[in-house]
Symmetry: C2
Subunit: 339 residues, 2 copies
DNA sequence: AAAGACAACGCAAACGTTTGCAATGTTAAA
DNA sequence: TTTAACATTGCAAACGTTTGCGTTGTCTTT
């Protein structure tokens, strides 16, 4: 009883051929209005739903988009996924989701499973350990629409969505300068990463614009809370030369800095300003709460989906790759001073 | 060239019928070993992959499991999704993911889309606004394997995975008692929710076990940081009667309590102990960091997947519904005292 | 009135599998 | 040597669609 009605059933009931039913349901002009309406009404009444497998088999493509995330639990990626899901849902696509757990092998396996599932597009962010891109290259060779976000692959000609790291960092650092900071330290993740470079450039250019010295000792590779705490305590002992502002690559690091400052008896933001990249729950949970650069993960996800749809739908545009840069915004909270 | 090879292609190449190829690849005993091996070798060499659509069409079921989340961005749900993804991947299933955004209408639409996609099972957690369960009831009526997690539906006969709220709360409160607390307040989400009731019971029973008074003024409905802060400030003014311990329904609330205590000049944990339910980033970001009950979201996800697979695979077991209760664990950090 | 045009519909193949059954060929038993 | 049994393979239908092409039938045109 629950078994779904098919086009053949309708054809039998209406005394016509399946092809007629198909055309009627697809509003083909070759079907007389009377018949068409009768068929459509019957289909409606009997809650006809086309069988997706049959459609997929015939069109050789599913109605599905594959999404690869390095880690689902990570707030930024969860946000991106949320944005993708929303956009996909609006466009009538399903998404199948898989996480690489930052493992290259898993990433390769995922790509393979997506090919098997014949998804009609892939949205991906690279695992940290991925240096070989041949699995993605195969997708590109097969003309599978592919969009990278955040951790993009610069070797491949695909659309990309990235966060405006440079401008975000620039704005944050400039805000600290304008509100009185003169010696701003920068805690960064490894500088071979694209995002680190861009954020560093933003930091440096903001200093230069305001004619502040760019001092190499102020730029340190440090992106965990524990390390940040230690490092900060050391830097604050510099007494006269101590930083009066910190710009951190992520919220955890910023939190470590914050607590080190408080331990050192410094007031935040009166004595020291702190600002970080990548807003998340952590930044909203300290006291004072941390001023942060918001990456707008959901916008990234939505942008990726839009680019992907453009490639899926577009015909001649299929070969044109576009980049989208999602603007960040500076969320001012208690760890920086007001103007 | 990239177009995949089919069974027919192999048949043509080997000079036999497609059915023979099919049987050979499926290791049917009716095929002579020589032919079978030749075919398998050919298939292997030509990287044959069965067409999933054709399989799905024939079997009338996809190789996919639908997952419904209230909010992907929420840490607990992201953790659950991560667990589901891992388990599904190991079992060879794809997952399609959709979020209800706590909206009833969206949830209904998702269920419908899952039916269209003919997923072979559904894992779901209810949206807050869902009081009518007919969309899920339809799934059950159609014998679609269905498992609820966390926000379960008690009206329907399905497998369920829940967190052991009672024991988790009991353990947390008992720990505070054992380490010296005598007046413990409980900040809870609305008590009509199942989880609230269970946690309250754990709280009450722990007090009773240790012959402490259960005082109604100590149980307050409050589950946001801002409200918690206000409320705590008020309670701490009770001077002699002030609480010396707080148990909060979530991390945000616990953070609000923490900062109110510090504002009041009380030391945590020396003067006041604080413990919360649902560990997440927030709890790891305060100073001191918050002792929390960890819900083991990934275990919840994995458990849900296991129950679902049991229903999908099991034959006579298909109608047996099982419950799984995931044990919590108490993570002791700086907001409670040691024994 | 005959022929052409056109509207409306049906036939059948195709997408890639699986599987019940029939059709071979081979071997063993009588 | 005949027959039965069995191993091996092929045929064809089925899953639910879509679509090119052929077939009707009606209407307009000359």
């Amino acid at each position: 009883m629950s078994s779904h009605i098919t086009i053949k059933d309708i054809a039998k009931a209406m005394g016509c051929a399946p092809s007629t039913v198909s055309r009627a349901l697809n509003n083909s002009p070759n079907i007389s209005p009377a018949v068409r309406e009768a068929i459509q009404r019957y289909a409606m009444e009997h809650n006809y739903r086309p069988n997706e497998f049959a459609l997929s088999l015939r069109n050789n493509r599913s109605n599905t988009i594959g999404v690869i995330l390095p880690q689902i639990k990570h707030y930024f990626f969860a946000s991106v996924l949320s944005g993708i899901e929303r956009a996909a849902s609006e466009a009538g696509y399903n998404i199948i989701v898989a996480q690489s757990n930052e493992e290259y092998d898993k990433e390769v396996a995922i790509v393979e499973s997506f090919r098997k599932a014949k998804v009609c597009g892939v949205i991906a962010s690279l695992a940290k350990g991925t240096y070989d891109y041949s699995h993605f290259r195969r997708l590109v060779d097969e003309e599978m629409p592919l969009v990278f976000y955040d951790r993009i692959c610069t070797e491949l000609n695909t659309s990309r969505v990235v966060v405006d790291d440079y401008t975000g960092a620039f704005a944050a650092v400039e805000h600290m300068i304008v509100t009185g900071c003169r010696r701003i330290a920068f805690f960064t993740s490894p500088l071979h990463l694209e995002i680190s470079k861009n954020r560093r450039n933003g930091y440096v250019d903001a200093l230069r614009k305001h004619r502040l010295e760019v001092c190499n000792e102020m730029i340190v590779e440090c992106d965990t809370r524990v390390a940040a705490r230690e490092l900060t305590l050391g830097m604050l002992k510099l007494d006269k030369e101590r930083p009066d502002g910190f710009f951190a690559v992520n919220a955890d690091t910023a939190a470590g800095i914050l607590y080190a400052c408080k331990d050192s008896g410094l007031r935040v933001p009166e004595d020291v300003s702190i600002c970080g990249f990548s807003d998340n729950e952590t930044a909203r949970s300290t006291e004072p709460r941390l001023s942060m650069v918001d990456q707008h993960g959901e916008a990234v996800g939505q942008g990726a989906m839009e680019l992907l749809l453009a490639k899926i739908d577009g015909d001649e545009e299929k070969l044109v790759y576009k980049n989208k840069i999602v603007k960040t915004s500076l969320i001012l909270r208690g760890s920086t001073r007001d103007k």
